[in-house]
Amino acid sequence: MEFYISALVLGLCLSAMGLGIFITMKIFRIPDITTDGSYTLGAAVTAVALTQGWTLSATLGLTLLSGAVAGVMTGLVHTRLKIDALLAGILVMTGLYSVNLSVMGRSNIPLINLETIFNKLSIFSRSVYNELWVGLLFLFILSGLIAYLLRTDFGIAMRATGNSESMTRALGINNDRMKIIGLAIANALTAISGFLVAQYQNFSDINMGIGIVLVGLGSVLIGDALINWIGIRNIWLQLLTVMLGCILFQMVLAVALSVGVNPNFLKLITALFVLIIVGIPRLARRRKH
């Protein structure tokens, strides 16, 4: 049972990243793969700050800032140099590998005997319940904040930018600036996932972000399929569904492991699972036509 609860907690930790990918992919329609780098950056900054005695709130602030800066870099490359968003993301992600390595100073930092967000906010005697509680707390706070943001005048402008650039330009919106801000918010959210996972797993590793964008992408696609299937219109419920997608994704991987799949094949299973999520609706649509 605890194995599945761990998967659930990991899904909750990664759901911030799911929100970030939802913002770039579904709101701005930008394929941003800075995620792989900004997730590790969040974990690297967290590990270094905590081992150097920073408070948890200061560490969280620094993590958010570092993720946002990574997003701004991708945004600047994409909008100022007019480089395709996908390539801009690849460039920044590649560069971030070296940045992360120099932030950490080595490839792995263990977080042993340090106060983490999970024991700081503990209210239960069993650690697994505290991890669940902290994960849920972050899920509700982040989804609430982003839902509020998307309902504000600024948020409506954000949503419109990804929907009709000709309209937003004619309505006085600087699309380039809006994209940069969107990428900053998205990567700050991804860095929060790095912040949580590093503390949940008690280490930060230079390779922990490899392929994580695929996990986020698959999670958002699951969430999106549920949103369309159920017909959810409320923004907050949409965001919660995307976050639920992250949890479901981790549960599927947990089931795969529990039925005896070799952990070496986990990345392959992840890729195949995303392929199925993307492929089945397309095949179904083709049949209909």
Partner: protein, 249 residues
Amino acid sequence: MIRLAEVSKTFNRGEVNEVEALRGIDLEIAPGSFTVLLGSNGSGKTTLLNVISGAILPSAGNIYIRSNEVTDLPEHRRSRWIARVFQDPLGGTAPDLSILDNFRLAALRTAAKTLRIGINDAFRKKVQDTIAELGLGLENKLQQPMGSLSGGQRQALTLLMSVMDHTDILLLDEPTAALDPKSADVVLRTAEKIIGKFQLTTIMITHNLGESLRFGNRLIQMDQGRIIRDLNASEKEKVRLEDLYQWFQ
């Protein structure tokens, strides 16, 4: 109100597919006037509207709006004076956003988009009353996505959106080109109403020769990037449909 001095626009300069879309255009548009632009495809009408709105920047020349030089000002910064209705009904609205969200953005065209929730009961009522004037029954469907409406309904709403915030200039780029005759009539009647009510300086592109005679107090014909005819109100009144057909021979 609007002045263009020696404005030229060349696309793909120095390449095999180089196109001179505008050639030394000198044009003054008086405040409150309604100018109709005519011309065959590729004559430069839409490029002219685009350089006025800032959607594209000219290769040479200067553009002034209300005596401010705006030549290098991007479109989003010229929106403080200009509202625009696109040829494609999809272009002027955000299809995934609700009617209400679209109107909220339109109401903030010249204002900052801040971190406050601006859609409240008073705003909802204002939008409802505005849309009710169309008589299309859309005032009770404010939460419906804009994309679910017909092209005619969207164009009519885009026109109403253009006057949700203060505007001086209205650019209409073939607003009825993609519409059936009935929808086109609703859109044109709405346009006529708001142009008169708000005393807007209007430039409209049309391929419909009947429309070009019915609307406006100035008629300009373009060909190969140049203005080849420019008729004032009294000259325009004398023009018959047959004359227009002859212009295009």
